[in-house]
Symmetry: C2
Amino acid sequence: MKFVTTNIHKFEEVRTMLKEFGINIERVELKISEVRGTNEEIAMDAALKAYSIIKEPLIVEDSGLFINALNGFPGEFSKWVYNKIKPEGILKLMEGVKDRSAYFKAVVAYTDGKEIKTFTGIVEGSISYEEKGNKGFAFDVIFVPEGYSKTFAEMPEVKAKISHRVKAFKEFGKWFVKRQTYEF
Amino acid sequence: MKFVTTNIHKFEEVRTMLKEFGINIERVELKISEVRGTNEEIAMDAALKAYSIIKEPLIVEDSGLFINALNGFPGEFSKWVYNKIKPEGILKLMEGVKDRSAYFKAVVAYTDGKEIKTFTGIVEGSISYEEKGNKGFAFDVIFVPEGYSKTFAEMPEVKAKISHRVKAFKEFGKWFVKRQTYEF
């Protein structure tokens, strides 16, 4: 199966995860024009566009950080907002804000040209008061998952177990394996 | 000619302006899925989608506020950013920032099904230190055009003469009138 992503780190993370389900993936890089919409709409649209090009079963993923006090900002535009104002900008927007609750959401879309399905993973947490941990995965340096006191960027091992992305891909993995079985 | 917009105030503003060129417009409201891209790409894409539905010559407009110190944020996503963090959020992001330069850009796209053309208007200025003037037109309350000391929201008469939108529609008007003449 193909995983359409430009992000090599994300690909490696997902490859290891799906191997546990016996699913082997290969990375494909495609320039796809994205629609505006929810993560679900973006992922489904990207999956269909990618399928029309590569014509093989594939998955794509779209995710975002949703901050409640900012009406869900940066949400579906997280990657774009990250490039413009960085975690520093988010911390500035959150200065003096008491409700720091936020969540990360990931949506995986799968299509084989006959059907299309999405799988959602959410991890609740809060926005820290300063950037902490290794930079790299965008807003991980300012996101503290519920039940922990460190940011995702400070504890990659924990993230690898409880993240929104892990949850979404595990949902997909379970469904896909079950589905294969039914095909006999 | 049709002007595809959900904004009645914008429609009235443009209607008066284009009347000077002898161009009469009617308002059409359509739900169109927007692409992500530059204002030019968004306007062109929206014009083509609208044409496929109404099949008559039409114009659409897309605009944004670009703040240099924020790498062009909120830019093409100005309307969305406005709904999420309001002018208040922009002022927070600009706290302690010396370079307050910014510009408004408007792009008008015209199509008659045979050709498609865009017209751009830009007005330079800077971000104020507080919100001033009548609320309504999004970021007008924090934008001071070059050569003035008040915000767009404080001086609607000035805005009606020098705005990015006026400039873009005048470019369109001039081109359209000339083009009509050539058709004889």
